[in-house]
Structure formats: C-alpha cells, structure tokens
Amino acid sequence: MVNVLDPSGTLAAGTASPLDDDEVLAALRLMKLSRAFDAKGASLQRQGRFGTFSQVAGQEASVVGSAWALDPVRDWIVPQYRELPALLRHGYPLSNFIRYFQGNPAGGAIPDGVNLLPIQISIAAQLPHAVGLAWGLQRQAKDAVVLVYFGDGASSEGDFHEACNLAGLVGAPVVFFLQNNGWAISTPRRKQSAGRTLAERAAAYGFPGAVVDGNDLFAVYAETARAVARARDGGGPTLIESVTRRLGPHNTADDPTRYVDPADAEHWRALDPIDRVERYLVQRDAHHAARIAAFDADVAGEIERALADADGGDAVNRDQLFAHVYADPPVRVVRQRAQRVLGDR
C-alpha cells in the first residue's frame, strides 16, 4: 500500500511531499470545508430542510487528494455521490449542491465550462460513461483525462467489469478511482469480494492497479498524479484503490450502530485524514497553526453564503418537471405541460 504521510504527520523515510505548503494549506482548507458541510447538512437534514445525503467524513484525503491531481480546465470528473470537495474544486458551486439536496432540480445544473457529469445514484452506471467520455475526448485530441469515482460496493456491479475491460481495449485516458471505504451501506468489504484487494483486478484488463492509503493526502495525490500523467501521455487507464473509511453513516437515513463495530470505528477515527495534514503543516512551520485556525470561521462563512445563495434562488415550480427533458418535446409532453403549468384542464 502506497504511503507517504504517516498518522503522526511525518513523511515516510525516503519520501517527499508532492505539494508545496501553500497547496497543502489550500487542500486542507477544502477538506475542512467538506467536514464542516457534512455537519451543517446533517443538522439541516434533521430539521427537514435538506434531503438524504451522503457525508464525506473520513474520506477527505481520498477525495481531495485525487481531485487535486486534475486540471479543472482540461480534465473531467465523473462522480458517484460522495465527493463534494472534488466537485467544488472542479468548479461546481456549493449553492448548486445545496439546491440539489434541497430537492430543487435547478441544483443539478452544471455551469458551462465545468467538466462534470451529474452525481450518479445508480451504482456503477457512471463507469462506462467515463470510459466513453475519455475515449471521445481522446478521439478529438482534447488532451483531457477523465477521473471517475466509485466505491467498493460499486466494484461488484457488472458495469465495473465492462467499463474496465473496454477501457483497457481502447486505451482510454481514464483513472478509475475506487474509494474502498469499508462499507456499501451495511455490507462490509469482506462480503463484497473474496479477492485480496480490488485493485489487483486491473492487471487482467491490461492496465496497472495500485492500492494507496486513502487517508494519506500525499499518497493519494501522488499516485493519482502518476495515473493522470500516464493517461495524458497515451498510456491508458489506471485503477487506484484508495483504502479509507467513512466515519459517519452511509447517508442521513442510515443507522450504522446496527452494523459498525465501535472498536473499528475508534481505530479509524484515530487515522483521521485531516488531523494528519494539520500535524504535518504545523511540524513544518509553527506559523501555519494560525492560518489553519482561521479556516474554521472562513469555511463556515463560505457555507453560510452558499446557503443564502441557494435560498435566494428561484423557488421550485411545476415547469421544472418539463424543462430539459427533451430539446424538442413530443406534442403529448407539450400538452401535459400546458395542462399542469398553464392550468388548461
């Protein structure tokens, strides 16, 4: 398992940080924003002001480290649903994310120039999309790499196999980024596959696989950057298994006390990916402590502004059922809209 930064925040012997301090600070801020949003969203959800959503907590190094290896201007992200900070870094507005989870279709809108596919709910269905997208961009000489997120659960779906197999054949510039967070809802990794690792499947598709410590920002970043560079150079796909753990429930409707062993949870809490980066930075330079301390208020402010933006947007309306279904809607749909939106009975 690739490891750079150990839990005490010390670089492993013979390794160097792949990022300079300013970048590490920026990544840390994003990780903290994500953690703060998890808490805010859960509290809004309990108040009935937010829908069911999946928190990132515990996986911030995995998500941020991988997204950091991409160039948002050229590269694409194809998400599952647990990668908020990656979407933000890539340019998706937090207020849209909020609107989406408030149940407002407008939240699904991806601004022009933001290279994202929508959040995916149907597990693993995004994997072939990512392969086709990468293949098509390559065909058009677009110099773009596609990174697709998915989980240990998703790796059991047929779509995983078909997507990997096709990617190997066409040499698509795609990085399969598997977040093995230990669980698919209540199903533990050991009930998901009898294979020793999930990354070892890659070899049989004709491309490399790697296992990284998913709670190690540097290891995730470095390994993903290597895969992105290979893809950009025409070297084809890579499968990265990022071994991490979600610290919270599957989503806000879940009750993990039914299936999580408290000792295991305790073990992983001690490996918190955010603490590790903070320790590293403070060990490098005691002055960083103050900047880090300022992040809390800073991200809280950003979240409040995004919430205000979201709340200030247009209210939901009946027309949203009909917008963006077809470029050129069938007459029957036009009439259904007329009845429902314009009130013609």
Binding site: S122, T187, K191, S193, R258, V316, R318, R332
Partner: protein
C-alpha cells in the same frame, strides 16, 4: 387481530416463511445485520442465521440470476431488490431468464422465486429510487406481478407468492410501508392472485388503482362523496394475473371509470386497463375512460415530486369529467 403497518406485515410474512419452510432463504443487499434499508428483514438474520438470510454483493443481475439457480436446486429463495429502479440492472435475468425458464426447459426447471422490491414516490427519496416501473414487468410473459395496497393483502399475497411454483415480482409501495396500517391476523393465510378487491363500494363512477394509488383513489372517493358523488374504488392487487372479469363487471355497473397510475402516462399499465375495458365493457361505457398519471417525464427531485405525482384533485377532476360526459 393486531394492527400492523405494511412493513410489519411483510416482515411477519417473511418470518413465517423462514420458520415453516427450511428451503426458504432471503438474499439481497443489506438484508442481514441492517435488516434491509426499510427493515423488512429486521432481526431475521439474527434469528435464522447467516446461511438463510444472506447479505449479497452489490450486483443485482447476480442476485436474481443466482436466485434462479437456487430455486432450480430446490431452495425457495426470496430475493430483495433494494428499489425497483435497480432491478433494471437485472432486467435480462428477470424478463428473459427467470420468467421463461419453465417454458425453455419444457417444465423441467421450475423457478419458485419471489423478487421483492420497494418502489413508488412520495417519500422524498434520492433520484431513481421512486419510479413506478410495474408496467415493464406486466409485459413479461411468465412473470406474475403483485401490487399489495394494504397490510393485510401484503402478508396474504406474500404467502401466496412464496407458495407459487412460478416466479413472482412483489412490489411494495414505499409510501405505504409505514403509513398504511390495518388488521393482520397472526396466523398464516393466503390472498389469492387474480381477484381484485373492492376497496370501497360506490355506484356512479369506478376508480381503478393498485398499490399506493389505492389510497389516493380512496381519498378522492372521500372528496367526491363530500360533493354527493358515490365512487367505487377497485384495488387490482395483481397485474398478472389480471382480474379481467371482475374489472369488466365493476365498470359495467357504473359505466364510468377513471384509472389512476403513479407512472408516466404513455405505456403505463393504465393503458392496459383501458384497453381491457374497451374489449370487455365497451357497450356499458357512458364516457371515455380517463387516465390519471404522472406526466411523460422522468421522476424529478424530491422538491417537485408533489407536482409530479397524481393528486387527489386530479382524480376528482377526472371523475367529475366522466360524470359530466354525454
């Protein structure tokens, strides 16, 4: 007789099946320690062990395909598909394999398999969780399709499904899981397939529904009653077998009919109901049979689902239109 919610009735039915028949197994995602995302299998793994209540990997085609193999081997699998929308991943296994194995083996390989799936709207789920996709399955010869609307029927139809020597898709309305409550006997009983239920008797217009739309139709009947109109509500209970005669007889009595479906209009099962009535009760129809449904657009995000789903008002208006006609 105890009052149970629908989910309690289903759990009781599963428990009874595991208790009385050692061949019965439950397979599905998160059916074990979690007890299923809606708790339909709560406590069953603890009671019957990991060999009989099995957490499966996240792969619907193999859940259904392996259940077919289990059934052929002599077991009586009950497979849970977490949401009907995710049965799409197993569509080839359901429509072509499970439904046709008896036919393709000329009776040698029977597939006594129950596929349970939660479905339908109104409970603010994430995308793709709420569609009412029953029409796809009602167009698959060889597959029975069961749509209980009450807790009593849920337990009784589940028992019939488990005893059936052929595959059954058993669709459970998300909206009814905790909201619908009624009397459910503790002892075993079966509700037969292919016999509709008159959920409420009436004289002037017939409202036809199934699953969660039955309660919608009942609320519409209340509203119509308040306006002095007597509406009958039919609960189809099973789409295949369809109670063709019961349907024709009931609509013949009123001559006016509204079919209520949660799915988008075009190609929904409501069309089959209308076409069947045209074949069996045409000369009794005093007005066009109306369909009330969702529009022909995808199930939207939760914030607008109330606009999307058919409403009591929609049903009332449609019923009044049929009464005003000719």
């Amino acid at each position: 007789m105890p009052v149970m919610t629908m989910i309690q009735a289903i759990r009781a039915g599963l428990d009874e099946a595991l208790e009385t028949d050692p061949r019965v197994m439950i397979v599905g995602e998160d059916v074990g320690a979690l007890g299923g995302v809606f708790r339909a299998t709560d406590g069953l793994q603890a009671k019957y062990g990991e060999a009989r209540v099995v957490d499966m990997p996240l792969a619907e085609a193999s859940i259904v395909g392996a259940a077919l193999g289990l059934a052929v081997s002599g077991m009586r699998p009950i497979a849970e598909i977490q949401f009907l929308g995710f049965a799409h991943q197993a569509f080839h296994q359901i429509g072509q394999q499970v439904a046709r194995m008896r036919f393709r083996s000329q009776g040698h390989c029977a597939v006594p398999l129950v596929l349970r799936a939660a479905f339908g709207g109104g409970v603010r789920t994430p995308e793709l969780h709420s569609d009412a996709f029953e029409a796809f399955y009602a167009h698959c010869p060889g597959l029975k399709v069961v749509m209980p609307a009450t807790a009593y029927d849920a337990k009784g139809l589940l028992a019939t499904a488990i005893a059936d020597p052929d595959p059954v898709l058993f669709c459970e309305p998300l909206r009814g899981y905790r909201l619908v409550k009624d009397d459910v006997p503790d002892e075993p009983y079966r509700v037969p397939f292919g016999q509709l239920r008159i959920a409420r008797a009436g004289r002037e217009v017939t409202l036809v529904a199934w699953s969660a739309a039955v309660q919608l139709a009942e609320r519409a009947a209340d509203a119509l009653a308040a306006g002095g109109i007597s509406a009958e509500v039919l609960d189809l209970r099973t789409l295949n077998p369809l109670d063709v005669d019961g349907l024709a007889a009931a609509v013949a009595r009123t001559g006016r009919c509204v079919v209520v479906q949660e799915a988008p209009l075009s190609g929904g099962f409501g069309a089959e109901v209308v076409a069947t009535l045209v074949e069996t009760a045409f000369y009794h129809l005093q007005a066009p049979v109306e369909r009330v449904s969702a529009p022909d657009t995808p199930y939207p995000l939760a914030g607008v689902e109330d606009f999307y789903l058919p409403s009591v008002d929609d049903v009332v208006h449609a019923a009044r239109r049929t009464l005003a006609a000719a």
